[in-house]
Each structure stands twice: as C-alpha cells, then as structure tokens.
C-alpha cells in the first residue's frame, strides 16, 4: 500500500459516495470540511471505508479536523497509522 493508492481510493470513495459521482473539481487539497463534503454522517462511512479497505483503525484521538481537512491530510494519517501498526507488529 502506498500513498498514491490511498489517495486514489479516497478520491474514488468520496466522488462516488459523498459527491454522488460529481467529483470533477475534487483535488487532494479540496477543503473537505469547509465545503461540507464530510459531515457527521459522511465521517462514519469514511471511517468504515478506511477500516475495510486498508485494515487501518484510526484511533479516537486522531479523528480530528486536522486529519480530515483534505484527502492529502487523511491519506498521510492512514499511512502513518499503518506504518506504526506494522512497525509495532
């Protein structure tokens, strides 16, 4: 699993499930929270998607706006948590 794959998977999920296919303007830097793309409900499905696709459980303390503000930020978090989990194993 590398950052590019994670970015692509996230873009795909957000376009399809949260933007109902209308993701033409979505970039890695689009403000997901300010533009209301990720709201409370969307966040729950996003967390489930991350868990199922990458096998990564985001600790409660990391579920913060800083880590969800853009695809780039979320992807970096997933890579970090994934790395920490495999180093610890």
């Amino acid at each position: 699993m590398n950052a590019t794959e994670v970015n692509q998977a996230l873009e795909g999920f957000i376009t399809e499930k949260l933007l109902h296919g209308d993701g033409a303007d979505l970039t890695l830097q689009t403000p997901l929270l300010e533009y209301g793309i990720v709201d409370s409900l969307a966040m729950v499905s996003l967390l489930t998607f991350v868990q199922n696709s990458f096998g990564v459980t985001i600790p409660d303390g990391e579920v913060s706006p800083r880590n969800f503000k853009t695809i780039e930020a979320l992807s970096a978090l997933i890579m970090r948590v994934h790395g920490e989990a495999s180093n610890g194993a």
Binding site: P31, S40, V44, D60, G61, V63, S64, P65, R66
Partner: protein, 494 residues
C-alpha cells in the same frame, strides 16, 4: 459573602425580591467546588436539588455519548439557590438592600460610589472603596459607559425559549439526573435539566431566522422544538405538563471590554456571556467572584497595587472565558469530531474543561488541539500571509458562527483589502450585529485600505464579481456559488 467573611463592610444591592426565577440551572464541577469551599454543601442537601452525574449529548440519528462530571455538583432551581447564596452572605455580615442601582458617582476617573433607588422609594447615594458590577445581562457598567461597549460575540442572533415541566421521562442508571443536550442542525438545540425529583427545565434554542420560520412565537417554537428537534426529546416529553411561565432570551452572547477600572470591576454576565450549551454561566461567574474577592480585598489593603491587581484579574477572566468559548466553538464547528475528542487521549482534559476548569495558567493539551483545528483552515492558507490573512482569520472565526451571513469574500488590490458579505436576509438585528463587527475590524486593523460591503438578497445582482476574490466562508447552496475555477491559478474560488 466572600468579602464579608474577610471582615470587609459589604452592601449587596439587588433589584428583585428573592426568591425569584432565573435561568441557569445546571452547575458544573467547579460550581460544586465553590459550594463546598464556602461551606454550603450540607445545606444543599436540604433542598431537593438533583446530584448531577454528567452531560449526555444526543445528536442526529441517535448518536449519543456521555461525559461524567469532574467533581460532585448539582442541578438547581435558581430561585432557591440564589436565595441560599444571599442568605449566606447576610449570615457572614453583608448588608442587603432591595433596590435598583441607578448611577455611579465619579471623582475624576475613579468610581467612588453609587446612587440607588430603593424599593421603599428612597433615593440614596453611597460612597465605597470598590464597586463590583454583578448585574448580569443588565451590563450596568457598560450601559453607564464606565466599562466598554457591549459587543456582540459569536453565537449571537439566537433565541432561547425555556420553562419547567413535570411528567418528563427520566434517564436511568449512571446517567440519571444528567444534563441532556439534544442537537439537530447547527445552532438548533435543546437542553433537559432535572431540577428536582419531579421537575425538569427544558429549553429550545434556535437561530432567530429559524425561529421566525417556526411561527415566530415562543409557544409555537417550543412546540416545534419538543415535536421535531430530536426523537428522544419528543418521546420523553410526550406526557409533559408545563408548570412555569415561558421565558425567552435572545441575542445574549456578548463581551464588554474593558471591564475593570479605577474603583470598579465586573463579574460574570456583566462583562461576558457565551452560548449556554455547556452550562458554564453560573459556575464561571462563581469562579470569577472568588478572584474578584481576592482582588478587591488586596486592592483595599494596598491601593497603590490596584491597577496591577485589576489587570491580572481581567487577564484571569479572559483566560477562562476564552477557553470556554473555544470549547463551544469547536463543538459547533466540528460536532462529529467533538465526540471523538471526549473519547480519545484528551478525555481527561475534556472532563476538566466541561467542569469549568478553564482558568489554569497554561492551556490544557486539548485546548491547544482545538485551537489548532479552529485556526488552521485550508481556506485561510490561500490568502497571502500578513494583514489580509489576519483580517480573513478574524472573519473566518466569527462568521462560521454568525447567523445570517451566507458568505464572506476578501479581495486584494495592491495593499487594500476589500471585504464583501452576502447576507441571507434583510434584517435590522443583523445589520446591528454586522455594524458592530465592522467597528471591531476597523478598530483592530485600521480604517485605511480596508473597505467593507454588505449585500442583501434584493441587491445581490449589484455585487461585483468575486471571481478574483478569496472566499472566507461560503455557505450558500452549491447552485448559487460562482463557478469553480482551477486550483493553483491564484483565484481560489470555490
């Protein structure tokens, strides 16, 4: 009571005969501490005041979580609780006059006394070493132009309707007698606070715009709130019977600054009130009162130290009120994340902050985390650093929460900054709030090279294109927004 027990001569002037109804029935952990410290814990037991185990938050789609109290505290009926405090003050030696304070007596810059008209009809003048303004939302010193003007703050333009009810289904188990916060959309929320073994206080809070849509009367809005705000609230109040008059408060969030000066200081609501969602008001007022008592006693003992003592009192109050308001802002801005904040590594900090423990010299790590998230926005990063970004940051912080402003744009022409607000409605209260905010911007950033325009729905067509402007906030439906522009071309359009 705090001053009288130090042997100072104290006069309490109160305009309403106690006991009297007052809103603010849920105390936090620091409120409980205060009660224990002043030796009233045993007397509290004589009233049927529920012990408060914590706060339960119920969001949309039934998302629920519970945050326990830091230390034992109570839910109170303010009529009896405030009376208990007054009687305790008198038992400690304070004198009490039923009357209204009408003015201050000045000697140069210094406040040296008050005039009052007593309930018995006498006009009196009194000299004193120090005046403490604890007039609550009456903001007495501000109205007399001794303290600074009352400035609207975020979370303004809301309306709260509240009363007391019997026959409401209680929580069970460890959450029995908790404060319950129900929230729906942003700024639409309700509280449920058990205040005796059979009575609960219920309040419905709505943005004023939304209130108008719900019939525009307190009764209609209360009925709408009980019926539609949250399924659990509806279920639990099905058999409820209203047993107190309906009360209404609106536009109640503000700050007064400065709120200390030669011979006087303000405590509690008389200088600051923020959204009541976390029941901070009475407890913060009690914490400030303890600091005020220390300040006044020390200033009377050493008048030369008064300016410094007052400055450090003001700093203390600003610290506590500021941290409480950051917590509230974070809750409203990131409701989905707030729950996680109460469950991860910041849980203990959150329990402390929700208890009103907001006055520590250094901020708790959770406060730093919230602050970073509140201030760090990709929207602001696009604006060149410096004055323009600072102005944008100020607007961003406020207008995220300001009801009635749909969008705000910032345009740069050389060094000049032009701000355009798009308003959601044509409303006099909104203009007042906005004018007040503009004055604050001009005061802080200077009038030169700063232009501020507002566009109401009827003149929106006259608004110049914002194609080259930076959006700071844009909550309009997607269809009304300008067309997206490619990233990286410096425009930064939505």
């Amino acid at each position: 009571m705090l001053l009288a027990q130090r042997g100072l001569s104290v006069l309490v002037v109160e305009k309403d005969p106690f006991p009297r109804y007052h809103v603010g029935e849920s105390l936090t952990g620091t409120g409980g501490d205060f009660i224990a410290r002043v030796g009233l814990a045993d007397q509290m037991a004589a009233f049927d005041f529920p012990a408060k185990p914590g706060v339960k938050v119920v969001g949309r789609e039934g998302a629920k979580y519970f945050v326990p109290v830091l230390r034992p505290t109570w839910q109170v009926r303010r009529a009896e609780f405030d009376n208990l405090l007054l009687e305790h003050a008198m038992a400690k030696g304070a004198e009490h006059v039923l009357g209204t304070v009408t003015d201050v007596i000045l000697d140069g810059e210094r406040v040296v006394g008050l005039t009052l008209s007593t309930a018995a009809g006498d006009e009196q003048s009194l000299r004193c070493s120090m005046v403490i303004d604890a007039s609550g939302q009456g903001v007495f010193m501000s109205r007399k132009e001794i303290a600074g003007p009352r400035r609207v703050a975020a979370f303004s333009r809301q309306i709260a309707l509240y009363s007391q009810f019997k026959g409401v289904e209680p929580d069970v188990g460890e959450q029995f007698n908790s404060t319950v916060i129900f929230y729906r959309d942003t700024y639409h929320w309700a509280w449920l606070i058990p205040i005796s073994s059979d009575t609960v206080s219920i309040g419905i809070v709505l943005p004023t715009t939304s209130y108008k849509l719900r019939g525009g009367t307190a009764k209609a809005a209360m009925a709408w709130g009980l019926g539609h705000l949250n399924a659990e609230l509806t279920e639990r109040t099905r058999e409820a019977e209203q047993v107190e008059d309906m009360h209404v408060s609106r536009n109640y969030s503000y700050r007064v600054d400065p709120f200390v000066g030669p011979g006087w200081l303000c405590v509690g609501d008389s200088h600051c009130f923020t959204d009541p969602i976390f029941s901070f008001g009475a407890s913060l007022a009690m914490t400030e009162a303890e600091a005020a008592a220390d300040t006044v006693a020390a200033a009377i003992a050493d008048p030369s130290a008064e300016p410094e003592l007052l400055a450090s009192y003001a700093h203390y109050c600003n610290t506590g009120q500021g941290r409480a308001s950051e917590l509230i802002r974070y809750f409203w801005k990131f409701p989905a994340f707030f729950k996680f904040l109460t469950q991860g590594q910041y849980r203990d900090d959150l329990i402390r902050l929700l208890a009103g423990d907001c006055f520590t010299p250094e901020p708790l790590p959770a406060t730093l985390e919230m602050r970073a998230n509140l201030d760090d926005s990709p929207v602001l990063q696009r604006i060149p650093a410096g004055r323009a970004r600072d102005i944008a940051a100020r607007i961003y912080r406020r207008f995220d929460f300001f009801q009635g402003v749909d969008a705000a744009f910032l345009e740069l022409c050389e060094d000049a900054v032009m701000i355009s607000f798009i308003l959601s409605e044509d409303d006099i209260d909104l203009y007042d709030s906005l004018r007040d905010f503009e004055e604050q911007l001009v005061a802080d950033f200077g009038r030169d090279d700063l232009a501020i325009f507002s566009f109401t729905p009827d003149i929106i067509d006259a608004m110049p294109s914002v194609a080259n402007a930076f959006p700071i906030v844009d909550r309009r439906p997607a269809a009304q927004r300008a067309m997206p522009q490619a990233e990286g071309d410096g425009g930064g359009m939505l």
